[in-house]
Symmetry: C2
Subunit: 130 residues, 2 copies
């Protein structure tokens, strides 16, 4: 069981991480943590570094829970929705976890367009958390 977590490194991240831990344990699954950045001129170096730091921190949390995980920072010039869905197809994952309400100033998963896109285009069930 592969669980893809759309991760933004903001407050909501903590709720989604707790949910990912519960699901990974229940399904004996591994967690693929994905952060999408727009790329090109829109993405500052500090933003990339911050995302990488944040992903590394989250990986530690899963390691501490004995859960296998990997992290991916996607900067492919796609929207967050396109990035998550195409990556989900590439890795053939079984479930996607997303947050649907942004509490972050730079949050990309605002409902609806990104969440709606992911839910409607996803190749697998999508778990939404507020």
């Amino acid at each position: 069981m592969k669980i893809l977590v759309g991760y933004r490194g903001s407050n909501i991240g903590q709720d989604i991480i707790r949910l990912a831990i519960v699901h990974a344990k229940a399904f004996s699954g591994e967690v693929i943590i994905v952060t999408s950045l727009p790329g090109g001129e829109k993405t500052a170096t500090e933003q990339v570094e911050e995302a990488q730091r944040s992903l590394a921190e989250v990986k530690e949390i899963f390691a501490g829970q004995g859960i296998k995980s990997e992290t991916h920072l996607l900067i492919r010039g796609k929207t967050a929705g396109e990035d998550i869905v195409s990556f989900a197809e590439e890795i053939n994952c079984d479930e996607i976890l997303i947050g649907v309400k942004s509490r972050s100033k730079v949050g990309k998963f605002l409902f609806g367009s990104t969440a709606q896109f992911i839910i409607l285009k996803s190749p697998c069930p999508v778990v939404s958390i507020k």
Copy 2:
């Protein structure tokens, strides 16, 4: 773990039932199957009878899998979204499963208003399946 399944008795129902079985087993949970009908003049007697038959059939499927379940036909004059969310609060459930694309002529869970309402108002994580 209480898993609420928004059930419409249509084709999509079968996918959602399979997913509910997987989740109920993984989380050692019980399943609460809920069908919402609008009520009042809008709901024909045959519609109520068909929904009851359909719920009884689904309960059999869960019983065959050794999963504890109960069924509820909600006819409270609310929209499907309001019915699902308020019932989820009443029973204090841990997860809601919904279908987001209608394949039924009378399907009520069309994305987006109903699914969007449930995802944004739900007291717990919502699992969406197409």
